[in-house]
Each structure stands twice: as C-alpha cells, then as structure tokens.
Amino acid sequence: MKEQKKVTTTGKRSRLQGMMLIGLSFLLCHLSFSISSCSSIDCPVQNTVNTKYKLVKADGTTDTLNTDTLWIWSPRANGKASRDYQLDDDDTLLINSLCGPSATSFSIPISYTLPEDTIIFALLTRSGKELLDTILVKKDNQPHFESVDCQASYFHTITNVRWTHNAIDSIAINNPNVNYDLSIEHFHLYLKADR
C-alpha cells in the first residue's frame, strides 16, 4: 500500500514538473519568436566611394595649392563621357574653389559604371593664368553588396590614367583599389613648379 502511494506521488510530481516545463516551453517559444523578430541594420557609416588625389612635389614632399584656386568638374551627357570641356548646365561640379595652404589633397566621386571618367581640372594661378587640364581615369567596375538594407554601390579598380600637361606635370597611381576607405591615396598628383 505504502509503495503504491509513493509511486502515485512520484507520478503526480513528474506530471506537475512536465506541466511546468510545457508552460516554460510556451513562454520560451514566445521568446524565440521575439528573438527572431529582433533585427538591426548594420550598414557602413562611411558609404561613399571616392578617389583621393594627393598633391606631391617632385622631391616627394607634400605640395599645396596655396594661393592657386582649383575647380574640378566632369562633363556628363546622359551618363556617357563627353568631350565637351566647357563647364555648362549638364556638367557636374565636383570641387569648387579649393585653395589655401591646407589644400594638400582632394577627393572626388567616381562614376558607377562608365569605363573611363573624364575629369576637367581648372587651375587659376597666383599670376592670374587659367590652366585647363583633362584627366582620363580608366577603371573596372564591380558591384558591391552589404545587405538588403544598405544601398548597393560599386567598387573600382583603376587600370590606367592619362592627362594633359598644362598645369599637371604627371599623375601616378598610388593605390588602384577604390572602395569605402577614404584614407587611401589613389593618385599622387604632381603639378608643374613653374605654373
């Protein structure tokens, strides 16, 4: 008799334990849905893709525009590279009146999918000369994806650069990879010393 009672009590306790666990299960099922529904959007804070040009002197030290003033624009004609080098309503102004001793570098956007970007480089020197140069940047374009919550963009690999020689002496590709990293100096730009 005593043994039977003991078995019944153990069975009751086990059922009670089971019921508690089921209750806990439903509670945690609810929690699991809550966890699943939690989401965060982790898009890069820095999400512009620019090319950086650093002004360098022939001896390798940093150059500056100082009293010269620089304008940069790119011709655009329905997204195609244009050979019209006059700044007009269709063009996009990328740098407006950059000057001063702290002007040692500048960053400009790079097109998403054009095979070659045309950059017009206009320099007004301290002696009042207007010097106009054209820079042609050839590149490979790779689509870039972070998440469905972040805007798609393009990264690039610079393959070649050409230029005219009015104010610019030469341009060297320092790092061909163009991505979200704004600290990368992609080009070293050597201006003529006697401009």
Binding site: L28, S36, R76
Partner: protein, 230 residues
Amino acid sequence: MIYPSSISTFISRLTVSLLLLIAALAVQAQPKMFRLEKDSIPLFRGFALSFDLVGPAQLMLGDYGSYEGALRINLHDQWFPIFELGLGRANHEKDEVTKLTYKTTAPYFRLGMDWNIMKKKHGPNRLYAGFRYAFTSYKVDIIRENLPDPVWQNLTGFSVEGMPCSQHWLEAVLGLDAKIIGPLHLGWSVRYKRRLAHKDGDIGQTWYVPGFGISDKDNLAATFNVIIDI
C-alpha cells in the same frame, strides 16, 4: 528608448553568460557528468525524431526561414548524439527602400552532442547543454535594377545569379524537452552561433546564410521542437 539591436545584444549577452555558467558547472561536475550512471538502464535507449516550428513560422511571416528536422540517439538518457538537417530559404523581393532582391535556397546540416544536465537522468523531462558543428554551401541571386548614379545621373544596375558561397560555424546549445503524452515531447533550444569560416562570393558579403540566419560573425537563435521517440 531601447532599440531592437540593444535588446538583441542584451539577450545575446544573457545567453552567453548562462551558457558559460552551465559550462563552468559542467566542468566542476565533470567526472560525474561523463561517468555512466550505474543502474539497470541499458546504454542504447532508442532514437528521437524532431521538427522545428520556428523556421516555418519565420518563412510564413517574413522573407526568410527554414524547414528543419533532427535525428537524435539516446544513450542512457545522458548523452544524445544528434544530426540536424534543414533547408534554409530567403526570398527578399525588391526591398522598399533599397530596391534590392536577394534569393537563396539551400540545405544545411549540423552534427553534435547534447548532455542531459538534470540530476535525475531517467525522468520524463530533460535539460540539455550541447554543441553543434554546422556547414552550408549555397548559391545566391542578388539583383538591383535601375540603380541611378547620383553624380553622373545615368541608370546602372546589376544582376548576380547563382553566386557560390559557403559557411562553417559552431553552436552552443541550451535546451529543454518535456514529455507530453506517450512518445510525444515538446522542447525548445536557444543557440549561440559563432562563424568559423566563410566564403561570401565576389561582390561583398551575403545577407542570409541558410541555417545560420542573418550573416554576421555571431548570431543568436531559438528553436521550438516537436519530438517523437521512436
């Protein structure tokens, strides 16, 4: 104001702390835990089949989720080697803001072991701690049509289809199952997932990894299982 990411981080930390506590207790009780209890119960106690309900619910309510089943061997009500097999799916069509489409459907598997950490091993209810090794190899479609160049103002766009990706990861599991009636059990598990190695294709990173969830270096997930002893 509490943001969803803060809640998620809080829950992640809480779970990791609990798992570490259980691991510490398990290490303390190590000789007892790994020792086969001396009783008349045989070593092989049968198999259990289980199906997760959270993954299909996620698929019904959202853009991604999975169908998942598991086969578990019961060794003396103490050790439970387990094999989990699932099919993960994401179908995010033309996001409202970014207009991106992301699609993938691929199988994944997990292999691991659970330990029953209840004092009375042979009772009808169990509390588990365990681990899993998991792997998936999957292909993704990422499409963005008519993407305007903000400076040059021309329309661009890309369509990457069938980009091959893969991922290996580990999971720490804390779970519970309760006997309902006969061979039927209900159970849940909370899992902390840690990425070991991954291949994300050529255009950045992936978004949803089958079996792992939203791509990150770690992740927290939960399952709610219907378990049948066979």
